[in-house]
Symmetry: C2
């Protein structure tokens, strides 16, 4: 068992906040006693969408794409790269991610629709140059991929029902620059 | 000139919020008229710490570090990579970033302190494996670098007066997974 006070301590917030946040999602724990750790963990994972494996494709296998293919923390957390795509077959098709143990064959991007269906891809990670990003998004949308993680430094348009999260390195730097300027 | 209503429209917020947000930092614009665009831009840049060039070093020149060395948007926004470091001289020292036009020589990490001072490095970008990150942070701190952008998937400890921003790819994916699970 764990109490809201213990949880609060671990998260550096207060116990009332822990109880309030959990209450937002339903009823948890036993008043005056606390929470079953195992049950709570299961429930929180479910709330967060982390109770399942997410099958992902990386598109654009340059330096960044290669770094993503060998990003070990993905696997630790149930994020599984099941496909890699690039526009430029002669250079990269067949290149593999050795660090992950299991090699990922890089396929031509024109196989997106077929492969996305076959391998049940739910998240597409865009690591292409910015000028290629919208085209890749359109291919992903056509392949019914609903989640997009966009590393290309440009905003992309998607239809309703598709979620995009941008990772713009300059945005994080802007944040750091602001903090450094106001210390 | 631009009015708070026009600004609000561009930012997809309301005009009162624009005025309130700006008021937080001082007095801006002319009541009933609006803001001088050029002055406002200058003031906002200053508030955000974007009115200057930020001199940065990338540490760890694997795939991710190489991707950062050729990330074009840094330069567009006054973020300048002035040094690159790695622990493994035979493989990478002297490797250059061709895409940025101007090559960056990769130096051995033991030159950090000397080079950081010489080149006035203010931000260190960590692109090493997680097990090396704390060591690199300690070197940066010793070299009086006050800002750290940490791409290594691990938390690092810094003394007071040093700011760290983590970029954990799994954290962004967690966010996306949550959104996709609750659509």
């Amino acid at each position: 068992m764990i109490s809201s006070a213990q949880l609060a301590n671990k998260c550096a917030v207060n116990a009332a906040q822990v109880r309030k946040d959990l209450a937002y999602f339903g009823e948890f724990g036993i008043r005056g006693v606390g929470y079953h750790v195992k049950d709570l963990l299961h429930d929180i994972k479910k709330i967060l969408g982390l109770n399942k494996e997410w099958r992902m494709a990386v598109i654009g296998i340059g330096n960044l794409g290669s770094a993503l293919l060998s990003y070990k923390d993905f696997l630790k957390q149930n994020y599984k790269i099941v496909a890699a795509f690039d526009i430029n077959p002669p250079n990269v098709i067949g290149r593999v991610s050795e660090k992950l143990g299991k090699p990922v064959e890089v396929l031509h991007i024109n196989r997106m629709k077929e492969v996305a269906k076959e391998r049940k891809i739910e998240i597409g990670i865009i690591a292409t140059p910015p000028e290629a990003a919208q085209n890749v998004v359109d291919l992903l949308v056509e392949a019914e991929v609903r989640g997009i993680l966009n590393f290309a430094p440009t905003h992309v348009a998607v239809p309703e029902g598709v979620m995009v999260k941008d990772v713009f390195f300059t945005t994080v730097l802007d944040n750091l620059a602001y903090l450094l300027s106001n210390m």
